[in-house]
Symmetry: C2
Subunit: 219 residues, 2 copies
Amino acid sequence: MTETRQRLIDGALETLRDKGMAATSARTIAAAASANQGLIFYHFGSVDQLIIEACRVSTEQRVQHYRQRFAAVGSLRELLGIGRELHATELAAGNVTVLAQVVAGAQQNEAFAAAGREAIEQWIAEIERVLRRLLRGSPIAPAVDQPGLARGIAAAFIGIELYDGVDAGGAQAALAALEQLSVLAEVLDDLGPVARRAVRSRVRKAQARTPGPRPAGAP
Amino acid sequence: MTETRQRLIDGALETLRDKGMAATSARTIAAAASANQGLIFYHFGSVDQLIIEACRVSTEQRVQHYRQRFAAVGSLRELLGIGRELHATELAAGNVTVLAQVVAGAQQNEAFAAAGREAIEQWIAEIERVLRRLLRGSPIAPAVDQPGLARGIAAAFIGIELYDGVDAGGAQAALAALEQLSVLAEVLDDLGPVARRAVRSRVRKAQARTPGPRPAGAP
DNA sequence: GTCTATAGAGGGATAGAC
DNA sequence: GTCTATCCCTCTATAGAC
C-alpha cells in the first residue's frame, strides 16, 4: 500500500465525513489528500471504487477498534452506552458518518450497495455476538430474535447518525431514551422465573398472531 | 398551484425515490415530469428549492394519510405494526425514502437540514402523541422519556429505510425483531404493581448513574 | 407560462511527458 | 508513480423568443 494510496483513502473519508457524498469528487478528494487528481484513477480506477475501498478500510479499522469494548460489555445498558460513545467519537473522527453516506448513495448504485452491506454486516456481527452472550439464560431471550435485533440496532444507529446532522439535540435525546429503555430488560431479568413464564406465554401468543420466521429449532 | 408546478414536484419525488439524490438533477426531474428543464427555475428558483418544497408537500400528505391510523393505535405492538405497514407502502410510493435522501444530503447543506428537520418533526409529533396516550398509567412509563423515544423511533425508521436499499431481507428481519420486542412491554404491563415498583426503583438507580435531562417535575 | 439555446462551472476520465 | 493538460460530459442557471 503506497503512501499516496493511503492519503487518498484518508482524503476520501475526510471529504465524505465533512462535506457529504454530493460534494465528494475526484477534485475535492485530491485537494483534501494534497494529491494529484489523476492519481485517483491510477490507483483506484474510479472515484466510486475509491469511496468503496475507503469505506471498507475504515469499517475494518473502526470495528477492530471497538471489538475489545464490545467484548467487555456485560449488559444491554452497556451495549447502548457504547452506542453513545460511538456516536460521540465517530461523528467527529469516524466511520459511521461515512457509512451513512455510502448507504444513502447506494439506493441506485449496486456497487455502493454491496460495500454498504458488507460494512454494516461487520457491525452486525459484533452486535450479534454481544446479544447472544447477554441473553444466554435471560428470561427475555424468547422475545428477542437476535439476528433481527442486531440488524435493527445497526440500522437505527445509522439513522440516528444522519438525524444528528439535522438536529443534534434530538439525536442526543434519542440515544439517551433508548439507553433508558434497557431498564425494562433489567427489571425483567430481576423478576426471574415469574418474568420467564410471562414472556414465554406472551411470545407464543404473538407468534400465533403474526406468523413469521421462527428461531431455529421451532416446530 | 399550477398543474406544471405539481408535475415538477411529483417528478422530483419520483426521481429522488427511484434514483436517489446523486441522480436527481434539473434534467432528470424535468424528464420524469415531462416538463421543460427551465421551468424548474421559473417555478422554484433552484433545484434545491424544488427538492425542499417536494419534501415538505409529500411529508404533509403522508403524515396526514397516517394520522387516523396513528389515532387508532392501542398498543406499542400496533405502533410498531404501523411501522411495518409504512415500510411496505412508503418504500414503493412514499415519502420516507425521499426524506432519507434529503437528510443524507443535509450534512453540508443548511437548507436541506432545515427541511429535513421540519419533516422529521412532523412524524415525531405523531409518534409522541401515540406514546403519551399508550403510556398513560402504564408501569413502564417512568422508564420512557417520551420525546426522546419518539425521536429515536423516527430516526431508527429512517435508518431501516436506508438499510433496506442495501439488504431488503435484513430490513425485514429488523422490523420484525423490533415488533417482537413489544412483548416485553406487554409482559410488564401484565405484571402491574409488581412491575411498577421494580421499574421505579431501577429508574432511580439508572438516573443516579447517568445524570442527564430529567422529566419535568423531577428535583 | 413555456420553449430553445447557451453560457459557465465542475465533474470523470485519459494521454503523454517526466 | 506522479504531474500537466485536456477532452467531453452533465450540471445549474439565465437570456430571450414565443
